[in-house]
C-alpha cells in the first residue's frame, strides 16, 4: 500500500457562493488536473454535504483514488468529516489533505477575483505535493479510567458531579473553599424569576452530599495533573482545617467563644466572622474551619468543642487521584473597582458593588436583609445602579458580561422597590441586554414598578457632605445632562476570570482567550470540550454566563465525558513522534524539550536507547526540530511532507 503510485482526487468546493462567488473554482479544478498524480477533479456545490461526500466516495471508487485533496474551508472544523468520508470509502484518513481556499482566499480577497484564483491554485498545488507524500497511519486507543475529577463546586461543577454520580461513576469533587455552593450561595435572589438563591441551591448541595458516588473534597486544591486522556493522575492538596471533620458536628460553639473578629468574606466584608468559623449557615459540609493565619492561639475553641475535634497540629496532605476524565468548573470573580476607584468606589463610602448589595439585601446577611448605606447605616430612599462597570470599557474589559449585570441591576432595583415601595431607583445603562427567556418580562416588571432607566454612562461622581452621591450623566435619549442625587450608588460590576485561572490553565494545558477565560474547543460546535482530550470546561470558567447556562454546561460536560467513560477507551491521534533508532545517538535533547515526558532514556552503557511513550505525545513536533541527528520525525508532519509544500509555493514560469 505504501509503495503504491499516488492516485490523487482533488475536490473543489464552491461552498454555495462563499467560495464560488469570489474565485474561479472550475479554473482551480482544471489546473489541479495538470498536476502530477492527479487523476480526478470535481467541483462540488457543497463538498461537506451528503451529496458532496457521495461525490468524493464515487470518485474514489471510479478512479481508484488512494489520496484525496479537498479545497474548501478549514481543517479546524471539517477535517474529521472528510477523514471519516475517506475512511468509509477505503482511503486511509491520514491520506486526506485539506486546502483552505475559503478563509484564506475567497473571504479575504473578496474583490480580487484573479488574485484569489491564482492563490487558490498555489495552495492546491502545495496541498497536492504534500498529499503525494502522505503515509497511511493507524489510530490507536487507550483505556479510560472510570473515575472522574470535577474541579470547582459551584453550581456548574455540582451539576456535573451529580450527573456523573447518577450515571454510576465515582466522582472526586474538589473545591478550594471550605464549602461547596460557589458564588450562587451568596446571592439573595436570582433573576429572572427572583427565587431565593439559597432555597434552590441548598437542596442541590444536599443532593451532592447524599450522592454515594460523590467524594466531596472541600478546602482542597488541584495542584498538578499529569497523564493523558483516560489516564490522568491529579495531585490534590488538602489544606488543613485544623479540626477532625469526622468528629466535628458543625454545632458552631467554637465560633461563639473565639475572640478574634475578622471581615467576613462570605458577606463581602460587611459584618464579621471569627478566626474559627462555619463558612455560612447552609454550608456543605457543615464543618468549621480554623483560619490559622489569624488565630491567636488562645485555645478557647478547643475548650468549647464538646466533640473534641480541634487539631492544631494538622499538616497539609497531598493525595494522588487516578481519573479518566476531568470537568473544570473554576468559576469567575466579580470585577474589582477598587484599584482604579471606578465611579468613586473606595473613595466614597456610599458607593458599593452589586455583590455587596446582594449580601445587604439577603435576609441571612449581615444586616438581616435591611439595605443600609455604609456611611451612616441609614436605609436609603434613592438608589442608583450603574451597569457595565468593568465591562464594555476599553480601559478595563471590552467584553459584555453576557447580560448578567443588566439583569442583576434590574432585579436588585426591583427587589428593593418591592420591599420598600417608598424608595426610588435609577439604573444608568448603555444598552439593556435582556436576551434570554423571561429576561425582557423581568425588565418590563421593573419599569412597571417605577424603576427609572437612564440611557447614558455616568461621567462624574461626587460626594456631598451628608454622604450623598451625585451622579452626572448624559441622558442620551433625551439629549440632556442630568445630575441625580442618590443616597446609595451600586456598581453593576462585570464578571472576570477567577483568581488562579492562569495556574489552572497551565496545569491542564488549556489555552485562554483574549478575555482571560479558558477557551473551549469550538465556541459553537464544541462549547464544553477543550483542546486537551478528556478535559471539559463548564460554567463561568469559559466566559461570563448566568446560572441556567452554567448548570446546562455542567450537565453537558458529564454527557460529553461519558462518551469516553461508557466506551471505556479513547482514540489517540496518529500524528505522534516516531524515532529511528538507527539514527538516534541518545543525546537526550528530546527528553528536555518535550513538555509531556514522552521520551525517557532506558538501559545502561551501550544498551542505552530512547523509549517513546506514544500515548503521552500530543503531536506538537517540537522535538523533531530539536533532534540533531534527524532521528525523530512527526507522523503526518514529516520534514519532507512540509518541505513539499514549501517547494511548491513557487513554480517555474516555463514549466
Amino acid at each position: 500500500m505504501e509503495n503504491e503510485e499516488p492516485r490523487i482526487g482533488v475536490f473543489v468546493c464552491e461552498c454555495g457562493v462563499n467560495i464560488g462567488g469570489y474565485l474561479d473554482t472550475q479554473a482551480v479544478a482544471d489546473y489541479a488536473l495538470t498536476l502530477p498524480n492527479v487523476v480526478h477533479t470535481k467541483v462540488n456545490k457543497f463538498t461537506c454535504a451528503d451529496s458532496g461526500q457521495a461525490e468524493i466516495q464515487a470518485g474514489i471508487k471510479e478512479h481508484n483514488l488512494n489520496r484525496v485533496v479537498v479545497a474548501s474551508c478549514t481543517p479546524r472544523t471539517h477535517e474529521p468529516t472528510f477523514r471519516a468520508c475517506c475512511k468509509e470509502a477505503g482511503v486511509n484518513p491520514y491520506q486526506f489533505e485539506f486546502v483552505n481556499i475559503r478563509d484564506q482566499c475567497s473571504w479575504i480577497h473578496m474583490w480580487d477575483w484573479e488574485g484569489a484564483t491564482a492563490k487558490a491554485k498555489d495552495l492546491v498545488r502545495m496541498g497536492v505535493a504534500r498529499s503525494r507524500l502522505l503515509e497511511p497511519l493507524k489510530e490507536s486507543s487507550v483505556p479510560v479510567d472510570q473515575n472522574v475529577l470535577v474541579i470547582g463546586a459551584g453550581v456548574a461543577g455540582m451539576q456535573a458531579a451529580i450527573d456523573f454520580g447518577d450515571m454510576g461513576y465515582n466522582v472526586y469533587l474538589v473545591e478550594k473553599g471550605p464549602s461547596i455552593g460557589g458564588r450562587m450561595a451568596r446571592f439573595d435572589k436570582v433573576f429572572p424569576t427572583n427565587d431565593c438563591s439559597i432555597c434552590i441551591l441548598g437542596p442541590k448541595m444536599v443532593e451532592v452530599a447524599r450522592n454515594k458516588n460523590i467524594n466531596i473534597m472541600t478546602y482542597s486544591e488541584v495542584v498538578d495533573v499529569g497523564g493523558f486522556v483516560g489516564n490522568f493522575e491529579a495531585t490534590v492538596l488538602h489544606k488543613p482545617r485544623y479540626l477532625d471533620t469526622d468528629i466535628c458536628t458543625g454545632c458552631g460553639s467554637c465560633q461563639e467563644v473565639c475572640p478574634v473578629e475578622l471581615p467576613s468574606e462570605f458577606n463581602e466584608n460587611f459584618g464579621t466572622r471569627k478566626a474559627i468559623y462555619i463558612p455560612f449557615p447552609q454550608a456543605v459540609p457543615m464543618r468549621a474551619v480554623l483560619d490559622k493565619d489569624n488565630c491567636i492561639g488562645c485555645k478557647a475553641c478547643e475548650k468549647a468543642c464538646e466533640a473534641g475535634a480541634i487539631r492544631y497540629d494538622q499538616e497539609p496532605i497531598y493525595e494522588k487521584l487516578k481519573v479518566g476524565v476531568i470537568t473544570v468548573a473554576v468559576g469567575m470573580a466579580a470585577f474589582d473597582p477598587l484599584p482604579h476607584n471606578n465611579y468613586g468606589y473606595g473613595l466614597y463610602d456610599n458607593v458599593i458593588t452589586t455583590m455587596e448589595f446582594e449580601r445587604l439585601l439577603n435576609a441571612a446577611g449581615p444586616t438581616g436583609g435591611h439595605v443600609v448605606r455604609p456611611s451612616d447605616a441609614v436605609e436609603p430612599i434613592t438608589v442608583g445602579f450603574i451597569n457595565c462597570v468593568g465591562s464594555r470599557d476599553v480601559n478595563e474589559n471590552v467584553y459584555c458580561s453576557g447580560g448578567v449585570c443588566c439583569m442583576f441591576s434590574i432585579k436588585n432595583a426591583q427587589l428593593l422597590k418591592e420591599k420598600r415601595p417608598e424608595t426610588n431607583h435609577f439604573v444608568f445603562y448603555m444598552d439593556i441586554r435582556a436576551t434570554m427567556r423571561g429576561f425582557e418580562e423581568a425588565y418590563n416588571r421593573a419599569r412597571d414598578l417605577g424603576v427609572k432607566f437612564i440611557r447614558g454612562k455616568p461621567v462624574e461622581i461626587t460626594e456631598k457632605e451628608n454622604g450623598n452621591i451625585v451622579v452626572r450623566a448624559e441622558d442620551t435619549l433625551k439629549g440632556e445632562i442630568v445630575n441625580v442625587e442618590l443616597d446609595l450608588l451600586v456598581l453593576g460590576t462585570g464578571l472576570v476570570p477567577n483568581e488562579g485561572i492562569n495556574e489552572m490553565g497551565a496545569i491542564l494545558k488549556l489555552p485562554r482567550s483574549a478575555d482571560g477565560f479558558l477557551t473551549e474547543l469550538h465556541p459553537k460546535l464544541a462549547p464544553v470540550d477543550t483542546t486537551t482530550d478528556g478535559v471539559f470546561v463548564a460554567g463561568c470558567a469559559a466566559g461570563p454566563r448566568d446560572i441556567a447556562y452554567a448548570t446546562a454546561h455542567g450537565s453537558a460536560t458529564a454527557g460529553r465525558a461519558t462518551r469516553l467513560l461508557s466506551v471505556g477507551s479513547a482514540p489517540i491521534m496518529g500524528i505522534t513522534a516516531r524515532i529511528d533508532e538507527d539514527k538516534c545517538v541518545v543525546c537526550g535533547v528530546c527528553v528536555d524539550k518535550c513538555p509531556y515526558g514522552v521520551f525517557e532514556i532506558v538501559g545502561t552503557n551501550g544498551d542505552r536507547r530512547i523509549n517513546v511513550v506514544e500515548a503521552l505525545c500530543k503531536g506538537c513536533g517540537t522535538c523533531v526540530t530539536a533532534c540533531p541527528t534527524g532521528a525523530l520525525e512527526q507522523s503526518h508532519f514529516k520534514n519532507d511532507q512540509v518541505l513539499a509544500q514549501v517547494r511548491n509555493v513557487f513554480q517555474y514560469g516555463g514549466e
Binding site: 478563509d103 484564506q104 479575504i108 509531556y596 503531536g619 506538537c620 508532519f637 517555474y652
Partner: protein, 150 residues
C-alpha cells in the same frame, strides 16, 4: 504554460509572495477568524500549517527563501498561551538564530518576521499580513529568487 499569477495579469504594482507558517491552534485559527470576519488583505501570503510554532524548523524557512520567497512570516500563540505549554518560547530561540542566518544569506532583516496571533485575533491577522506585505514591497523582490519562478 503554467497559469498566470496575479502579478502578471494585473500588471500593476509588484506583488510579493510571502510564505507564512502558522500553528494549528492560534495563528491558523487567527487566519480562520480573519476569513470569518471578512478582514480583507492582499493575496500575497501562502500559509503552511504545522501543529505548533515549536515545529517550525529553520530548514523550512531557509528553504522558503531559497525557493524564492520575498518574505517569511512565522507565527504562533502568544507567549504563555501555547497549546503545547511552551513550544512558542522554543520558537523564539530559533527565530534569533534565523535572524542571523538571514543576514548570512545576504537578505535584509525585514524579510523575516515572527509575530504572535491568537485564534480570536482575525483583524490583527489581516493587519499583520497587510503590514508585512507593505514592508516587503519597500524592500523589493528577493535577490535569492531563482530566475523564472512565479
Amino acid at each position: 504554460m503554467a497559469e498566470a499569477t496575479a502579478t502578471e495579469t494585473t500588471n500593476e504594482e509588484w506583488q510579493p509572495k510571502i510564505v507564512m507558517f502558522c500553528c494549528n491552534w492560534c495563528s491558523y485559527g487567527g487566519a480562520d477568524s480573519a476569513g470569518m470576519g471578512r478582514f480583507q488583505q492582499p493575496p500575497t501570503v501562502r500559509v503552511i500549517r504545522v501543529m505548533c510554532s515549536g515545529r517550525m524548523d529553520p530548514v523550512f524557512i531557509l528553504n522558503a527563501f531559497l525557493e524564492g520567497a520575498d518574505g517569511v512570516l512565522f507565527s504562533g500563540c502568544h507567549i504563555g498561551d501555547c497549546h503545547y505549554v511552551n513550544g512558542n518560547y522554543k520558537a523564539t530561540i530559533k527565530y534569533k538564530f534565523l535572524k542571523a542566518m538571514v543576514n548570512e544569506l545576504g537578505l535584509e532583516d525585514e524579510r523575516l518576521k515572527l509575530d504572535w496571533i491568537s485564534a480570536s485575533e482575525g483583524e490583527r491577522y489581516a493587519q499583520v499580513v497587510t503590514e508585512f506585505t507593505e514592508q516587503i514591497k519597500k524592500v523589493g523582490p528577493s535577490p535569492l529568487k531563482p530566475e523564472g519562478v512565479i
